[in-house]
Amino acid sequence: MAEVVALAEAVDGLVRDGDAVALEGFTHLIPFAAGHEVLRQRRRELELIRMTPDVLYDQMIGVGAARKLVFSYGGNPGVGSLHRFRAAIERGVPRRVEVEEHSHAGMANRYVAGASGMPCALLRGYRGTDLMRHTRVEEITCPFTGEVLVAVPALNPDVAIIHAQEADAAGNVQLWGILGVQKEAVLAAQRSLVTVERIVDELELRPGGVVIPGWCVDAVAAAPGGSQPSYAHGVTVRDNDAYRDWDRIARDDDTFRGWMEDRGLAGARA
């Protein structure tokens, strides 16, 4: 049963150095506040998992919190490059990051397998691409038709962190709008944390709403505005300017570091 706790306490209890951590949210409901709390608590050597590493993961990679990145698209949506992601991979700045990359369909099905308690999932994908040689997929033959398909291994993060619009006092969570892969991430993970815009007495089921029962979640923490500069459908609005500004901030090593230090997100250096 989910405990409703403060964000700092939730992160302290659930996220450990070295964990495989998935902070999900597909262009919507990105858990910035929780990711920043992970940085404030100086968690390091993380395996960061996310279909679309965007500004949040650029920040986490840029301060050296990640030892590995598992992803399918690392860009600043509608803007361009993620400069810290590029700096890590191209120049090893601030450190080298191991990369395991998939397609979106592959990542989504890896989460589905994880949520389903299956060791793998099948799809028609990857074939005819160089990804086959560079990532963890295997060919498998359909026993009925002989068609060669691709199997992807299940993804079961140590911790999944998502942001949603609402939870009730029992930790039942509701999100709506663009749904992404958040439910699968929570169900696939060993532990989970959901930050929410607000705690309500009772959830009122919304059109398009997805409910995650509180007994499938470890901790719920209130974090109003906690997905900004991303947004929470119906509550906050995407701050497109912040995404555009990030291009300038992240482009230069020193500008980036200053920006992060000003916000207490850079961590202490060894």
Binding site: F26, T27, H28, M51, T52, F71, S72, Y73, G74, G75, P77, G78, V79, S81, L82, F85, R86, I89, E90, E101, H102, S103, H104, A105, G106, A108, N109, Y111, V112, L123, R124, G125, Y126, R127, G128, T129, D130, L131, H134, G177, I178, L179, G180, V181, K183, E184, G208, S230, Y231, H233, V237, R238, N240, Y243
Partner: protein
């Protein structure tokens, strides 16, 4: 009425959606083209974004495929696994637009790295949905700026297969696969000649015997496009 090449490229993309039922799009020119097609050519065109919005009717060109406007105006919003498994993979979406950093003569695409995979000179964003979109959707159109760094003799990394590609629409003209699958220049935009396109292509680009010239943008197309991007 004067226009820019980028405008004509978007208009040429939009024209290709006349008569289509559904189109899968990312952000940028394809999104602009698809919204334009709904305004000018195909009011019932179903726009599908990989964020899970099916039948989105955006009033403005979205900055991100996750903009709230897309979910609010959609006929249905589905999860990302459902989007790829139930909608893309079975070929339910008729046409997809894809972009890329590199395109080869068979319309295979690279959006992963420039340089060696393990030590890339430029790390690009990566595959995203493209590999499965490219083999799931019956028809793929590639949209890219025409230049020798984009239209390359050999890809640094093959992210996406060109097997379903029916057209590559650039700011200079239109390439379509010939009988053997190799791209052929079939149309140049007004004011462009085949020599200019060949010079902007790293391989020895074939030119169709009957090379067409893209129709000039109509006043209606141009007005609609400019109105759209000004919103």
């Amino acid at each position: 009425m004067s226009w820019e090449r980028g405008e004509l490229q978007t208009i040429a993309c939009a024209r290709r959606l006349a008569g289509k039922r559904s189109v899968f799009i990312g952000v940028g020119k394809p999104s602009t083209a698809a919204i334009l097609a709904r305004m000018v050519h195909e009011p019932g065109l179903v726009l599908v974004y990989e964020s899970g919005t099916i039948g989105a009717k955006p009033h403005r060109v979205p900055l991100s495929i996750g903009d709230g406007d897309l979910a609010e105006t959609a006929d249905a919003v589905v999860s990302v696994p459902e989007m790829f498994n139930y909608w893309i993979q079975p070929g339910r979406i008729e046409v997809a637009f894809l972009g890329a950093a590199q395109v080869d003569r068979h319309a295979n695409l690279n959006s992963t790295v420039i340089g060696p995979y393990d030590r890339p000179r430029t790390r690009l964003p990566g595959a995203g949905g493209a590999p499965e979109i490219a083999i799931g959707c019956p028809e793929v159109m590639v949209v890219a700026p025409h230049g020798r760094r984009t239209f390359v003799d050999e890809l640094d990394f093959r992210t996406t297969s060109g097997a379903h590609t029916t057209a590559v629409i650039t700011d200079l003209g239109v390439l379509e696969p010939g009988a053997d699958g190799e791209l052929v220049l079939v149309a140049v935009h007004p004011g462009v000649d085949a020599g200019e396109v060949r010079a902007a292509t790293s391989w020895n680009l074939r030119v169709a015997d009957e090379l067409r010239t893209t129709d000039e943008p109509t006043r209606r197309e141009l007005d609609a496009l400019r109105d759209l991007v000004s919103r």
